[in-house]
């Protein structure tokens, strides 16, 4: 399936602004940073989580523990996909028990990735609460999951996809709506 660009909905400045806004929202809602930690879902979510943690540290002047979650082994569609995905490491070097975990991903779509991430997080410990921060919410949920912090709501058609490109991996910060080439 070949995709072509339909629209560019965020540029570098917009991505930065959005992450800063989410950082403020998280700090405002949680007040105390002592029990906060940020965990990004590999791979887009991990990059955003790193930036978010950095921004929150700048604002609050307090260190915020950062972890990376790889959900490959928790996927419920492992047997239905054409090739098995490459497994990467989960890197959570702190105890999440009794912490407020800010789970971060780039795009919220069906909600299945978040479900897997929740399963995995619970295996690591018992957080006091888990909040979800998302750069783009594109709708089409298949599970009852919603984000606590949303960068941008982008209603999409089923045939469209969202591509989040980030400087750390793609060399550019932008969010694109892609559609199938006719």
């Amino acid at each position: 399936m070949k995709l072509k660009q339909k629209a560019r909905i965020m540029n570098k400045a917009a991505v930065q602004r959005t992450i800063t806004r989410i950082a403020h929202e998280i700090l405002e809602k949680n007040k105390n940073t002592k029990d906060l930690c940020i965990i990004g879902i590999r791979k887009g979510g991990a990059v955003i989580a790193r930036r978010l943690a950095g921004r929150m540290e700048e604002i609050s002047r307090k260190p915020i523990p950062l972890g990376i979650l790889d959900i490959t082994l928790y996927r419920d569609d492992l047997t239905a996909i054409a090739e098995q995905p490459i497994v990467h490491k989960t890197e959570i070097n702190f105890d999440i028990t009794a912490k407020t975990v800010i789970l971060v991903d780039d795009v919220l779509f069906t909600g299945r990735t978040i479900r897997c991430a929740l399963d995995e997080l619970i295996d690591f410990g018992r957080p006091s609460s888990i909040q979800l921060a998302i750069l783009i919410d594109r709708g089409h949920r298949e599970l009852p999951i919603r984000a606590d912090y949303v960068g941008k709501n982008v209603p999409t058609a089923g045939s469209e996809t969202i591509e989040v490109r980030l400087e750390e991996s793609e060399g550019i910060d932008e969010v694109l709506v892609m559609e199938q080439e006719k």
Partner: protein
């Protein structure tokens, strides 16, 4: 990125360097799981794995069973002494019956070289060779490669000495295939009576003087003297073997501080390796056991993770 398209893992001889690297890279990620509080992930939930061991084993069998359980697969273990093999059932029939119970992977250890391959042809389940006679022991080879890569950060260009009973050792063969494919230089050393004919054709250098063999080695892989196979009298006595080919402090007096001493276990302490070396600063023997679990998890995941379910 290379894809894993194999139903079975029968040996390292048939694997490409890229496939070997894929297993090692995947194992690196699996190692982290064993450090978690809950050492279990749901990746292979609903899959069933049978271990079919016709030879004694502690490490390999426990390691495979634990690997399967940590991936949430169900396991069933069958040993020759308690199975219908004692009633005269053939290997093929045993396997077909296991398969009829809808088992996804059969892990087999057998005294005959080629048993795993024969089984792989007979059944549609995946087959993993956990040691077939003196032929191959691929997961041991992979875990040795993993341990070397983990400690030395590379394999290419390393000098690896494999010492002992090369003739009967499936570990030696898997190690030689794997190490050669990843670019290591291999020296093998042992009594002439335990040296397979034309072994040089595998691309190794044969040395009969232990001190020459271990000189400048980055890794020494000490093989177990297989007492159960020594009835034919390949060497005069264990004492003499130990004097000529045993790895002890004296042999290692010029060793660099980065030397690795490996042993696939079980160890005959004081025969092929002295206790102070087995427990000493160079030894990574227990790291090998830890890494074995990660490597076997990776192998099971690669063999089963792909869409092979018939829905």
């Amino acid at each position: 990125m290379v894809k894993w398209n194999r139903k079975d893992l029968l040996g390292l001889e048939g694997l490409s360097p890229a496939e070997i690297k894929l297993v090692l890279d995947t194992a690196e990620s699996f190692k982290e799981i064993s450090t978690r509080q809950i050492k279990k992930v749901p990746a292979l939930r609903g899959r069933t794995i049978a271990t079919l061991f016709f030879e004694p084993s502690t490490r390999t069998r426990a390691s495979f069973e634990l690997a399967a359980k940590r991936l949430s697969a169900d396991t069933v273990s069958i040993s020759s002494s308690t199975s219908s093999v004692v009633k005269g059932e053939t290997l093929k029939d045993t396997a077909r019956n296991i398969e009829a119970m809808k088992i996804d992977i059969i892990i087999i250890r057998h005294k005959c070289a080629g048993a795993a391959e024969m089984l792989a042809r007979a059944v549609s389940s995946g087959v993993i060779n956990a040691g077939d006679g003196s032929h191959e022991h691929p997961t041991q080879g992979l875990l040795d490669l993993f341990t070397i890569r983990e400690k030395k950060k590379k394999i290419k260009g390393l000098k690896v000495a494999i010492i002992g009973d090369i003739l009967h050792s499936r570990v030696a063969r898997s190690n030689i295939w794997g190490l050669k494919k990843l670019g290591a230089e291999i020296v093998i050393c042992g009594p002439a009576t335990l040296m397979p004919p034309e072994i040089e054709k595998m691309g190794v250098r044969v040395v009969y003087d232990l001190r020459k063999a271990v000189k400048q080695a980055d890794v020494i892989n000490v093989l177990r003297i297989q007492k159960e196979r020594q009835d034919a009298g390949f060497f005069p006595s264990l004492r003499e073997y130990s004097r000529e080919f045993g790895i002890n402090k004296e042999v290692l007096k010029d060793a660099g501080k980065d030397l690795l001493i490996m042993h696939p276990g079980p160890i005959n302490r004081g025969v092929e390796i002295s206790p102070d070396v087995a427990d000493g600063q160079y030894s990574v023997i227990l790291d090998q056991v830890t890494n074995g679990l990660a490597v076997r998890m990776a192998v099971l995941y690669l063999l089963l993770g792909e869409t092979k379910v018939k829905l």
